[in-house]
């Protein structure tokens, strides 16, 4: 009897093994990749070792195909694991579990230190990253490195500018504002004209957008260096941040700007249907606008530099921008580093990114090319927006430092700005409370405040 029982269990176990073995065999076509994952793209050279890549760039399939056709010794196996936080959540879980991360991953520069502190990213200096430093815009390179270490290769940036509706401005008799003072006056004029549009939106969940506006008035929220990972300086309530938030608090109170949540369906529609006269945007904004439906067909869009606090001393800021990093789970880190540097690190790849993905390149040979500067955008009535606005903005950007718990910091920023908009506290109090909550969090997490 016992024998029969064991035999039955044995058969069941054998069947289970056979089933798993079968499914494993189907996907295990890769060569040297750390994960035998299924690729979104078709691998051209099945013999060559594969490097898995997570990225969400628009039109990235074309870039991958170009890379794979041009390289015999390595092939990209690409997966779109979600955009922004969706991808980071998956990456974070695979760091915790110790497996499942790709070899190369697209990360926004603001989250790099959140992952370096968990020892999830490879310092690329030992794989020749310093040799290509000269190929990239200075601010972007600064954002991707910490001290002497380089944790990612910059891909695209988000220098900020102001996209505005010329038709709405003309109807209300508004000149394009160059300072925030003029911006406020223009907002008042627009409101008085009874047009129904408001000047702009100040989303409480703007996250990096809000932080970029603070930075323009000199706010330096964090001081952090991956070389001393246990020390952090937090000053999210400095004078620069307070000055900016008090300004917007005034606009909100006077009903001159909206406070709709960003990146919702409502917001997307309002951006293009004439609800807002101005879209304070990063260089990827024009691409974002063009992808939205329900656009007002009579809209006349133009781009101008971001308004300044002091017109004589303009300060340029950045919103977003992403990089390629190599994960610690990569089986062949050198090969992965080569891919991270190679995907957009040549004119062909980067030009494809510019054309198909509307990226604002960090790769200098494309960034500094005449072709890019004089590119005419039909959406803006043929305006050369790079030359007029974004190239200057990018050139003036000096980089920023983010905290190793940036997601938490942004969530708390949203909580505080929302409370301010609800009238529960004023701007200064909101930022002081933010400072207190971040200090407490950092201490709980074992950091020493400097």
């Amino acid at each position: 009897m016992k024998a029969t029982f064991l035999a039955s269990v044995g058969i069941a176990a054998a069947t289970a093994v056979a089933l798993t073995g079968c499914s494993g065999g189907e996907s295990g076509g890769g060569g040297g990749g750390s994960e035998a994952a299924s690729c979104t793209n078709t691998v051209v050279n099945a013999e060559a070792p594969q490097v898995t890549v997570w990225a969400w760039y628009p039109g990235f399939d074309q870039v991958v195909d170009t890379f794979n056709n041009a390289n015999d010794d390595v092939q990209i196996c690409w997966t779109n694991a979600g955009q922004g936080n969706d991808e980071y959540t998956k990456f974070s879980t695979s760091i915790e579990s110790g497996s499942g991360a790709p070899d190369v991953i697209q990360l926004e520069s603001e989250v790099l230190s959140s992952f370096t502190i968990r020892d999830a990213l490879v310092d690329l200096t030992e794989f020749g990253a310093n040799d290509v430093e000269g190929d990239y815009a200075e601010g972007a390179w600064e954002d991707a490195s910490s001290g002497d270490a380089v944790y990612a290769i910059p891909v695209d940036g988000g220098p900020m500018g102001m996209l505005y509706r010329q038709d709405i401005f003309d109807a209300a008799g508004i000149e394009v504002p160059t300072t925030w003072e003029e911006f406020e006056a223009a907002a008042q004029t627009l409101k008085d004209s009874g047009d129904g549009a408001v000047m702009a939106d100040f989303p409480t969940n703007g996250r990096a957008f809000n932080q970029a506006l603070f930075a323009q008035a000199g706010s330096v929220p964090f001081e952090y260096d991956s070389a001393n990972p246990q020390e952090i300086g937090i000053t999210v309530n400095d004078d620069g941040a307070k000055k900016v938030l008090e300004y917007w608090e005034g606009l909100v109170k006077d009903g001159l700007v909206a406070t709709d949540d960003a990146f919702t369906a409502d917001y997307n529609t309002k951006l293009v249907d004439g609800s807002y006269a101005v879209y304070l945007a990063a260089a990827w904004g024009p691409g974002y606008l063009q992808g939205l439906s329900d656009a007002d067909p009579t809209a006349v869009w133009r781009a101008a530099p971001l308004p300044q606090w002091d017109a004589a001393n303009p300060v340029q800021v950045n919103w977003g921008g992403s990089t390629f990093a190599v994960t610690e789970q990569a089986s062949d880190k050198e090969l992965a580093a080569k891919v991270a540097m190679g995907i957009f690190g040549n004119e062909e790849g980067m030009n494809l990114g510019v054309d198909a993905g509307a990226l604002f390149p960090s790769y200098a040979p494309v960034l500094e090319s005449d072709e890019f500067a004089t590119k005419e955008y039909e959406f803006f009535g043929g305006q050369q927006i790079n030359k007029d606005v974004f190239l200057d903005a990018a050139a003036g950007y000096e980089g920023a430092t983010f905290s190793p718990f940036q997601n938490y910091a942004y969530d708390q920023l949203t909580v505080q700005i929302y409370a301010m908009v609800q009238g529960e506290k004023d701007a200064s109090q909101a930022l002081d409370d933010l400072q207190a909550s971040l200090e407490q969090y950092a201490t709980e997490q074992g950091f020493t405040l400097t």
């Binding site: 009897m1 029982f5 039955s8 269990v9 069941a12 936080n85 959540t89 974070s92 879980t93 760091i95 915790e96 502190i117 968990r118 409480t204 969940n205 990972p229 246990q230 949540d261 919702t264 369906a265 409502d266 529609t269 309002k270 190793p404 718990f405 997601n407 938490y408 969530d411 949203t414 909580v415 700005i417 929302y418 908009v421 609800q422 709980e444 997490q445 074992g446 950091f447």
Partner: protein
């Protein structure tokens, strides 16, 4: 005395064992087959429920901070959880939801079931299906759909209110989000509870109604004095389902947060708090502790409720 009784009793025990020996072996043999049939379930149950639970519990006994790494701390995470204002606020929020949402679902489900039980036309079958349909919609899809219905721009509210020259309320604002969520949950679950109650009503012997009519009872009296008391055990079950569901409130607010990030913070309910701790802030250890702490609360509430209603539910 002792010398004479001792052998007798041991002898008796031996004899007793001998008698029992045969059926015992048979019994064990059958047991083995039983285990084999249970094995597929047991394997999956162990792999996907028990092991993760044990693993999560082990995780909850450690602490891991961004700057300092792993450390065993025993039950310190639990002490922290039950004094964490964010967790306690979340519990308060779901308690408020429970107070409003459970009665709302119960009343809708009970009235619908009683009415349908009295109807015998084709309309009854059709209405039953219509009331049940929201439950067939996946929760995430339902919440997304309501997100659009609540949207000031895409939703019908602005059009409807404009007919009367009024301005539509913002369903996603801080002070209205509570009611908006109650509405989604009631819409989704009332139909399911209705089916449970309806099935219980169909199980009542119709002879009782005839007797009641002969005694001069009205339809309303039959409903409140006969039907409701007779299905009380089903009602208790429905409340337990609703209670557990409410304490673990997660999907609807998490989905709606996509369009109302200000009104629904990441720590709105205990489950959302655990989720964001783990997956947004990579505090897996503390998130495990929060999850277990919530589990304890759910257990205590359910146990307490079952104890209070032991008479109605037939447990006593």
């Amino acid at each position: 005395m002792a010398t004479t009784t001792a052998p007798t009793s041991s002898h008796r025990a031996e004899a007793h064992q001998q008698v029992k020996h045969r059926p015992d072996r048979n019994y064990r043999r059958r047991q083995r087959w039983g285990w084999l049939f249970v094995a597929p379930f047991a394997l999956i149950f162990l792999t996907f429920l028990v092991l993760p639970l044990v693993f999560a519990f082990r995780m909850s006994l450690f602490t891991s901070t961004l700057a300092t790494g792993d450390r065993f701390v025993g039950f310190a995470n639990y002490a922290k959880a039950f004094t964490d204002p964010l967790f306690l606020d979340g519990l308060l929020t779901v308690a408020k939801f429970g107070l409003i949402m459970i009665p709302a679902q119960m009343i809708v489900a009970l009235i619908a079931a009683l009415v349908l039980d009295n109807l015998a036309t084709w309309a009854s079958k059709f209405s039953r299906l219509m009331i049940f349909i929201p439950y067939a919609v996946p929760v995430v899809i339902g919440a997304l759909m309501w997100g659009f219905l609540y949207s000031p721009r895409f939703g019908p509210a602005s059009t409807v209110f404009a007919l009367f020259g009024a301005e539509a309320p913002n369903f996603l604002a801080q002070d209205s989000i509570f009611g908006s969520l109650v509405n989604i949950v009631t819409w989704q679950w009332a139909g399911y509870y209705m089916i449970i109650i309806y099935a219980a009503l169909r199980g009542i012997d119709p002879g009782i109604y005839e007797a009641a009519v002969l005694d001069g009872a009205s339809d309303r009296q039959i409903a409140t004095r006969i039907k409701v008391p007779m299905i009380s055990s089903s009602l208790v079950m429905v409340v337990i389902f609703a209670l557990i569901g409410t304490l673990q409130f997660f999907t609807e607010p998490q989905v709606l947060r996509g369009v109302a990030q200000g009104a629904i913070p990441t720590d709105y309910t205990p489950n959302m708090y655990a989720f964001s701790l783990a997956f947004s802030y990579s505090q897996f250890n503390y998130a495990s502790a929060i999850s277990f702490a919530l589990g304890i609360v759910v257990f205590v509430f359910s146990f307490f409720f079952l104890f209070l209603t032991r008479k109605q539910s037939g447990l006593k």
